[in-house]
């Protein structure tokens, strides 16, 4: 049996003017378990708290009910007071007789009666309260960043700068991501490589950063502060320790038929290659699907020519297992495949290209050495049509319902750069809306129109037909309300962007959630935008939603701060009001796991009684946030929520209804 003290606060006249506090105090004494009651002017004041503390000590109270303002105001205050004199803080409950009684009722009789009932409900609950202790779990002081694009790089550098170890896992042979393929960036028109390369080098040379390139995270277990990741390192067939990145092997390689991914397949590379000049790590990699040695067993030219003796055809896949305290998802994006969008004829016409391909065509390190030549005949295009919202903001199954956000700006950039470099070129841009919210963005767009004379046509393109080398673009001009037909030399499609295809499996691995478009869901769309609902998992860059570079970098740093905040703790204090499964009742049916938004529930086989091995639910208290979804889903009632147990809530119901 509990020994409960009930403390009624006057809150000056806020409560006492409408509630007869003496009567509540008197009524409390008749409640089961109550051994003491008192009222006081300001319970939250220093002396009010002392009153409670003294009563706890002198009367040996095991539970406390404070009838006062909302628990959202002072629950923490009173719990702390109780804790300071040795009472478990979770033995304190609040009856809200201010916001829910005195402030909304005028009649003293009625208000007092309700206050008594709320007090009774709180007492009924405390009678069933149990001391709760917040669990502690150690924090592994190392972070994992999945994805080595600008988002991942920035996050990693920020975390590392704060003094924590970071591993970047990148599935490609080099970090750098999509940004490395860009030519110039809007709205400043500075060259992407010039600003990205130093970051890549900084990451590579940072003593706290380890880049695990050409690797993928295979599985993740554990929970916030204590994840274990298995990382699969694909064989490069090049000894990383020996390779100097000289590039002789790539030069000597007789196989030249592989599409060069870095240039969006617009030129070729050898079977052994270095992705691009600024690649980090700058190491060669052999593509076994193209390599003659792998296919026929003969060749080995690269091996013979490598002075560093780095070629190793026998290299095997490796598994790296590492523990992490936090995980950052920075899996980035890809332009969508355009095969489904037949009206643009992308797959039929070599001169219908994507914006990313245009980036490569304009880049000095690109397939044309930076001279804008159209792919089909390597001629200079004189009339170029840009089409916006290709696959974005559409309602068809092949479309994405969202705005890809970056296309308006990069199209303005492209058209401006082309007009600047090739003033004899006519440039048309078909658009639905031009969206330019951002610092200096609208100015930038207006320059394209006003200063560079880019023809913006509000309307969509319905059809592109190849007519003897010319691309006949059939579009509509909504402002003029007429059909437009343009015989273009080159058509550039602003393809929608979508999360990297790995996002789904990464989300499953991390029990993080993704939305219908496979973008990662944030813990709160406004207040916790860089955290995933799964504790210890953070989001950086476009994996969470379309972003441009500055936004990506900002979010990457924000995620880093969250990680640093987490890693700076030696131990995590868990929320003690968490779910727990009574193994004797658990059926192991997996219902609870399905509704848990945090992936806090797993199943273990346990000897529940001697000789009785059963599959039972196990709640990871470090991960559980205490929502209670599992408790209601559980058919046998095995699952309960500490601090809000079935019995406690029913006792409150009983007290109110009696």
């Amino acid at each position: 049996m509990q020994k409960i003290g009930v403390f009624i606060c006057w809150c000056g006249s806020n409560i006492a003017a409408t509630v007869d506090v003496k009567r509540v105090a008197e009524a409390a004494l008749h409640e089961p378990g109550v051994v003491y009651s008192a009222d006081y002017q300001y319970m939250c004041s220093e002396s009010g708290q002392t009153l409670i503390k003294n009563a706890i000590k002198e009367k040996g109270l095991t539970g406390v009910v404070v009838c006062s303002c909302s628990p959202r105001m002072h629950e923490a205050t009173f719990r702390k007071a109780a804790e300071s004199c040795g009472l478990n803080p979770y033995m304190v409950e609040i009856a809200n007789i201010r916001e829910h009684v005195s402030w909304i009722h005028k009649d003293i009789e009625e208000a007092t009666e309700k206050a008594v009932i709320l007090m009774r409900a709180a007492v009924a609950k405390v009678n069933l309260n149990q001391s709760l202790t917040a669990g502690k779990s150690d924090v592994v002081k190392r972070a994992l960043v999945i994805g080595g694009g600008i988002a991942g790089i920035q996050t990693a550098i920020d975390i590392a700068d704060a003094g924590y170890e970071v591993d970047i896992v990148e599935k490609k042979p080099t970090i750098g991501g999509k940004m490395s393929q860009l030519d110039k960036t809007f709205p400043t028109l500075d060259c992407a490589a010039c600003i990205l390369t130093p970051k890549m080098v900084e990451a590579a040379s940072h003593e706290k950063i380890r880049i695990i390139s050409y690797s993928e995270v295979e599985s993740v277990s554990g929970f916030v502060g204590n994840f274990t990741a298995r990382i699969k390192k694909k064989p490069r067939y090049v000894n990383e320790a020996l390779c100097t990145g000289c590039g002789i092997c790539a030069e000597k390689c007789p196989s030249r038929k592989s599409k060069n991914e870095f240039n969006e397949g617009m030129d070729t590379r050898g079977a052994v290659y270095i992705p691009f000049a600024q690649a980090v790590p700058k190491l060669a990699v052999i593509d076994p699907t193209a390599c003659i040695k792998f296919k026929t067993g003969k060749c080995g030219l690269c091996e013979r020519n490598c002075t560093a003796k780095a070629i190793d055809f026998n290299q095997k896949e490796q598994i790296i297992e590492e523990k992490y305290g936090a995980i950052v998802v920075a899996t980035g994006f890809n332009p969508i495949k355009l095969d489904g969008l037949e009206e643009y004829g992308y797959s039929q016409n070599a001169d219908v290209i994507t914006s990313l391909e245009l980036e490569r065509l304009m880049n000095a390190a690109g397939p044309t050495g930076g001279v804008l030549l159209r792919p089909s005949d390597r001629q200079h295009p004189h009339k170029i049509v840009f089409v916006q919202c290709v696959g974005s903001r559409g309602l068809r199954p092949c479309d994405k319902p969202y705005c890809s956000k970056i296309c308006c700006m990069y199209t303005a950039k492209h058209s401006m750069l082309i007009r600047e470099k090739y003033p004899d070129t006519e440039v048309y841009v078909f658009y639905i809306d031009v969206r330019t919210p951002g610092k200096n963005f609208d100015e930038f767009y207006r320059r394209a129109v006003e200063q560079y004379g880019v023809h913006y046509v509000k309307g969509q393109v319905g059809k592109i037909v190849n007519d003897g080398g010319k691309l006949i673009v059939h579009g509509s001009d909504l402002l003029m309300n007429e059909q437009v037909i343009i015989d273009a030399d080159l058509v550039v499609l602003a393809a929608a962007i979508e999360p990297d295809p790995t996002a789904k499996s990464v989300a499953t691995m991390l029990t993080a959630s993704i939305d219908t478009n496979n973008f990662f869901t944030e813990a709160h769309p406004k207040l916790r935008p860089v955290e995933s609902p799964t504790a210890g998992v953070f989001l950086s860059g476009v994996c969470q939603g379309p972003k441009d570079i500055p936004e990506t970098v900002a979010q990457a740093s924000a995620a880093a701060v969250k990680v640093v905040g987490l890693l700076s703790k030696d131990q995590l204090t868990c929320n003690p009001c968490v779910a727990g499964s009574n193994e004797l009742l658990c059926n192991g049916c997996s219902s609870c796991e399905k509704v848990c938004p945090y992936g806090a529930i797993s199943y273990i086989t346990k000897e529940v009684r001697r000789g009785d091995f059963r599959r039972v639910a196990f709640v990871n208290e470090a991960v559980c946030q205490g929502c209670g979804a599992c408790t209601v889903t559980c058919p046998s009632g095995a699952m309960d929520l500490k601090g809000f147990t079935n019995k406690q809530i029913m006792a409150e119901v009983d007290a109110i209804c009696k």
Binding site: L29, H30, E31, P32, D654, C657, K658
Partner: protein
């Protein structure tokens, strides 16, 4: 011997119900069950068996024992027993009538169950002979003659009439109070009735369970039966529900429960079933943790323990309700036969 025309029965019911509560088999939402008679009641004497047996009038499924009222920290104990008023239960079949004798052995022996005793004293039992026994019936195995039931008054259907034969003082008193409705039966009636009874007894002999042999059962061989390997197989399909128990006229186990009313506690007793896994649950747990043990308990009790405590009398009357109601058709007959009690 008296008689009353079948089409006048409603008057008879009304006359009885005027003075006391009358329980009679009625069609209650599609099923025959004992119910309190009232004007417009859908009396069903044609169905052979009510779902729940007639024991319910003496030993209801739920019965309040005592109340506790709490006010703040004060507790008041309230005796909620009501002195039972006189009542009549009409249409009790021979098997159910016999079951009262078995229940009496349990509840009226020391310590006497006063709740039950009061009801027994105040209740008048009017039995009704069976006219069409069914395949699940095996009352004859327990020496019951379904054509000649016991009771305070025994009644029989034959032709246009219900025949009425008072057998006890209680029965006579009731008969006297109904004199103006009852005619005296003549010799012709008696003869017709005897013929009817003969017919019924003939049918009884044709029943598939006729001649069920109980000679292997009783107080002897307790341990041998208890340890038999047959129980495992017999019980393997048992679902552990209480259907057999709750339709049984002789099952007498009950549980005592407290209901928290908010401002007090209502203590009541309710039927319990030995088939339930929390039956006789104690602080240390249950003495019969497996369904086999619980299954065995039910039949050992009816066929071995009860006879050994009650001069060889079985605590089964062969009404066959459990035979009909078991969801998986396992029943006392199959158990009896499994231990060598083959029928004819």
């Amino acid at each position: 011997m008296f008689k009353i025309k079948k089409n006048s029965l409603n008057k008879l019911y009304a006359a009885i119900a005027e003075a006391q509560t009358l329980y009679i088999p009625c069609n209650v939402n599609g099923k025959p069950n004992f119910a309190v008679w009232g004007e417009g009641a859908d009396v069903d004497l044609a169905s052979l068996k009510t779902v729940k047996s007639a024991k319910e009038v003496f030993f209801p499924q739920c019965e309040d024992i005592v109340s506790f009222k709490t006010k703040g920290k004060e507790i008041t104990v309230i005796d909620c027993r009501k002195e039972s008023e006189d009542f009549v239960v009409f249409g009790v079949r021979a098997c159910d009538a016999k079951s009262f004798e078995i229940l009496d052995k349990v509840f009226l022996s020391d310590p006497v169950d006063t709740f039950y005793k009061t009801k027994r004293e105040h209740g008048t039992v009017i039995t009704l002979a069976c006219s069409r026994p069914e395949e699940s019936c095996f009352c004859s195995a327990f020496g019951i003659d379904c054509a000649e039931p016991s009771g305070d008054v025994a009644t029989y259907f034959s032709g246009e009439y219900l025949y009425w034969s008072p057998k006890t003082e209680k029965g006579l008193n009731l008969t006297n109070s109904l004199k103006n409705l009852l005619e005296i039966a003549n010799d012709k009636d008696n003869l017709a009735l005897e013929n009817e009874q003969k017919n019924i007894r003939e049918i009884t002999k044709k029943l598939p369970l006729y001649g069920l042999d109980l000679s292997k059962w009783g107080a002897d061989d307790l341990l041998e039966k208890f340890n038999s390997e047959k129980w495992q197989e017999l019980s393997s399909a048992c679902l552990g529900c209480g259907a057999c128990t709750f339709v049984c006229p002789t099952c007498q186990c009950y549980d005592v429960r407290d209901f928290d009313k908010g401002n007090g506690v209502q203590r009541y007793r309710c039927w319990d079933s030995c088939m339930y896994n929390d039956f006789t649950m104690m602080a240390h747990g249950t003495p019969r943790p497996t369904q086999m043990q619980r299954f065995r308990q039910r039949f050992m009790h009816k066929l071995v323990y009860f006879p050994s405590n009650n001069g060889g009398e079985f605590s089964c009357v062969g009404c066959g309700r459990c035979v009909e109601k078991c969801p998986i058709n396992m029943n006392i007959v199959k158990v009896i036969k499994a231990f060598g009690g083959e029928g004819k």
